[in-house]
């Protein structure tokens, strides 16, 4: 009986000490332009501020002027455009093993997902009204507008699946448009530069905004290859050798000299001379 008593007490302690899944922090709001709001499960909607904890199953909503960037425990980020609604449905991540999974629902607006440990393992997905988007890699921008859901691959392998079929984007710079859950995903098409320019402007601050953090006037970053000011961020454009023809010519000449030229026989020896 005593053992059972201990068990009951410990179970009660467990229940008290274990935070509900909904209260688990999965990330942080790293940049916020007003008005952007968060609704953690079971609590009231409140304006987001920089440094705000993002909670499992939290609903994030931006107004026509609001933009947000969220950074998650697995190092992935979400940049959220104005007039957007998302829910962090599921986020499980063990930083020691790097394992877990992530599911976000986008119901309205646009976002850019930049991958972290979970998407590198193919364990990140974004649900939209027209398709489920599986991300391996990867970096993807998703836009919902009156023409459907546009999924733009910026890096990685993006699997677009709905009730009518599946399409895979393997190459950066291609997009697929999906009209509805029961319409097959369209064929991949090259995204236009104008579309990318528009989305870059949409998914960050306007020139007069500061994302909730004032004071960033300059940045001091070493430049790639600059003597004395080294940087890790080098484009590594491949060096193209210009001596291929020279090397071919050298080999031809060497073989010609050694074998092609002919030698002269020694003069005949005559007896008595």
């Amino acid at each position: 009986m005593r053992a059972y008593g201990i068990m009951v007490v410990l179970l009660a302690m467990t229940a008290l000490t274990m935070p509900p899944a909904a209260a688990q922090q999965v990330g942080t709001a790293t940049a916020v332009n007003p008005l952007s709001e968060g609704t953690p499960p079971g609590t009231a909607t409140a304006p987001l501020t920089v440094g705000a904890r993002i909670i499992h199953k939290e609903h994030i909503h931006t107004t026509p002027t609001g933009t947000v960037q969220l950074a998650f425990l697995d190092k992935s980020t979400l940049s959220i455009a104005p007039n957007t609604s998302i829910v962090i449905n599921d986020f499980v991540y063990d930083p020691n093993s790097g394992k877990g999974h992530m599911l976000t629902t986008l119901t309205q607006g646009a976002l850019r997902f930049v991958g972290g440990a979970l998407s590198h393992a193919g364990e990140a997905s974004i649900a939209t009204p027209a398709a489920a988007v599986g991300i391996r890699g990867g970096t993807v921008t998703i836009v919902i507008d009156q023409h459907g859901v546009h999924i733009i691959n910026q890096f990685g392998i993006i699997t677009i699946h709905n009730g009518a079929g599946t399409t895979v984007l393997n190459r950066p710079g291609f997009e697929v448009t999906v009209l509805s859950w029961n319409t097959p995903p369209g064929q991949p098409e090259r995204v236009t530069l104008a579309e990318i320019d528009h989305l870059l402007a949409l998914l960050t601050s306007k020139p007069w905004e500061y994302g909730g953090v004032l004071g960033l006037h300059t940045v001091d970053i070493g430049a790639c290859g600059v003597l004395g000011l080294r940087s890790n961020n080098c484009p590594n454009t491949p060096w193209v050798p210009t001596d291929t023809g020279l090397n071919n010519a050298n080999q031809i000449i060497t073989q010609g000299t050694q074998f092609g030229t002919g030698t002269t026989a020694p003069p005949p020896r005559y007896p008595g001379r």
């Binding site: 053992a3 410990l10 467990t14 274990m18 688990q24 709001a29 790293t30 332009n33 920089v50 933009t67 960037q69 190092k75 992935s76 980020t77 930083p95 850019r112 930049v114 972290g116 970096t139 895979v168 984007l169 950066p172 710079g173 291609f174 320019d197 960050t204 306007k206 905004e209 500061y210 994302g211 953090v213 960033l216 300059t218 940045v219 970053i221 790639c224 290859g225 600059v226 003597l227 890790n232 961020n233 080098c234 484009p235 454009t237 491949p238 060096w239 210009t242 291929t244 023809g245 020279l246 071919n248 010519a249 050298n250 031809i252 000449i253 010609g256 074998f259 030229t261 030698t263 020694p266």
Partner: protein, 447 residues
């Protein structure tokens, strides 16, 4: 009785241990995702980014550190900084380079183009951004052309790779004195042209073609006037790997070559090959196998050249990757087997070459200089003694070569290309032992 007692004790302990285990487990699970546990496997900088995102020093340090090997995390962090100040050209430039490194050229282009529009952009950053935009623009074309055209002067101590004067042949015959080692100057011209047609499918299938040409006219020793032309073309088929960081493709190709020597038709070759491209992390690997039917033609200077005709098979591996920052490496390992009409000319050759191109700039100047040290060795093993040269010894030659190239930026696509090369051949046949120092320089237009 004893067994019953053990079971009772076990039940009691189990009753206590189970909830304790549950408590520990639940605490661990919960703590895996609470802010206090950002310490798990997180770097202190990333921990700081999550807990104090407005700490700009910490965020910048994390972005710079992540740029080395976690491109996406660096992107996320620079995009965070862009939220704080969207008018910083330098942040936009860094994002452009990061997307460029991912192969996301349309994103790279857009960020770089927007960097150019910022008021704070410096001339050197502007030049760097424009250079990358040009490359990104090409990568986004369905039909892509790249290449170079070069001309210049070269001085060689031994352009014919001949032996020293008075070198005696063991056969008792006399080596043609026109081919003894002598210095000369030459004018040379060279070009390389690469064409890629992108079929724009999700496998990344392309059609690729390349042409390389070289012509050198000696000032005095016209027996070494040489012109070489080589074409290669074939489709490249992408093979999905399921891993965005691992690429795989295969390319069958045709190769056609031709050469003039001493201003007369000398050599023609036709063949084909198969090459694979993949990468292991940052290292690109291109193994290949190629077979070419070679045809040499006799001429007044080279009356025995036709004996070199035959089949040349080569097998090799080209590889490249970064070393650190803007220093990279390229290498080639190869084996060749030539089966020639005249038996003694047949050979096996083993070759290894290494290049270490290093891009650098001077502070305040966006122009990129490239220094290219290189070294290589080949071991030539011929099939049989040549009675005309030495009837008793089968030639065995080791060729050593070292070089130092420097590409000096002049204006936009124009660079001054300079190259110093030293080559030494050591052979068991004195007539095949030689050395040559060459120095060349000339303007090079790269596009």
């Amino acid at each position: 009785m004893q067994v019953e007692l053990r079971r009772a004790v076990w039940r009691r302990f189990a009753g206590v241990l189970a909830p304790i285990a549950l408590l520990v487990l639940s605490t661990l699970l919960a703590s895996a995702q609470t802010p206090s546990d950002f310490t798990g496997n997180f770097s202190p900088l990333y921990q700081g980014l999550l807990s104090r995102p407005s700490d700009l020093t910490n965020t910048l340090q994390y972005a710079a550190a992540a740029s080395a090997d976690d491109i996406e995390s660096a992107i996320g962090t620079y995009e965070q900084l862009l939220f704080y100040n969207p008018t910083l050209s330098r942040v936009r430039f860094e994002l452009g380079v990061l997307y460029f490194r991912l192969g996301s050229y349309e994103m790279a282009r857009s960020y770089l183009q927007s960097a150019l529009q910022m008021h704070d952009i410096t001339p050197d950053l502007s030049e760097r951004a424009q250079d990358l935009i040009e490359i990104a623009d090409k990568k986004l074309q369905v039909d892509q052309f790249t290449g170079y055209v070069q001309t210049g002067l070269a001085y060689q101590t031994n352009p014919g790779a001949g032996p020293g004067a008075q070198t005696a042949l063991a056969s008792g015959r006399t080596f043609n004195s026109n081919f003894f080692s002598r210095p000369d100057w030459n004018w040379f011209g060279a070009f390389g042209l690469n064409y890629v047609h992108d079929f724009e499918n999700q496998n990344g299938d392309t059609f690729e073609a390349s042409a390389v040409g070289y012509d050198a006219q000696e000032f005095r020793l016209h027996q070494f006037d040489v012109g070489v032309l080589e074409f290669r073309a074939g489709p490249r088929f992408g093979i999905p790997t399921g891993d965005p960081k691992t690429s795989l493709s295969i390319k069958p190709y045709l190769v056609a070559t031709g050469a003039l020597l001493a201003d007369a038709p000398y050599y023609g070759g036709l063949g084909g090959g198969l090459t694979l491209h993949t990468n292991l992390g940052n290292v690109a690997l291109d193994p290949y196998a190629e077979i070419v039917q070679q045809s040499f033609r006799n001429s007044s200077f080279y009356p025995l050249a036709s004996g070199l005709s035959g089949t040349l098979s080569t097998y090799g591996l080209q590889a490249s990757g970064p070393v650190v920052s803007s220093l990279s490496w390229q290498s080639r390992l190869g084996f060749g087997h030539a089966s020639d009409h005249y038996g003694p000319y047949s050979y096996d050759v083993y070759a290894a070459d290494l290049w270490l191109p290093w891009n650098f700039s001077f502070p305040g100047d966006g122009r990129v200089w490239t220094l290219i040290p290189s070294a290589g060795v080949s071991r030539w093993l011929y099939a049989a003694p040549d009675p005309n040269i030495d009837p008793t010894k089968t030639p065995r030659t080791t060729e050593w070569r070292v070089g130092l190239g420097l590409e000096i930026p002049l204006w936009r696509h124009l660079v001054l290309g300079t190259l110093v090369q030293y080559r030494a051949d050591q052979s068991n046949i004195p007539a095949f032992t030689m050395h040559d120092l060459s120095v060349s320089a000339g303007p090079t237009f790269k596009f």
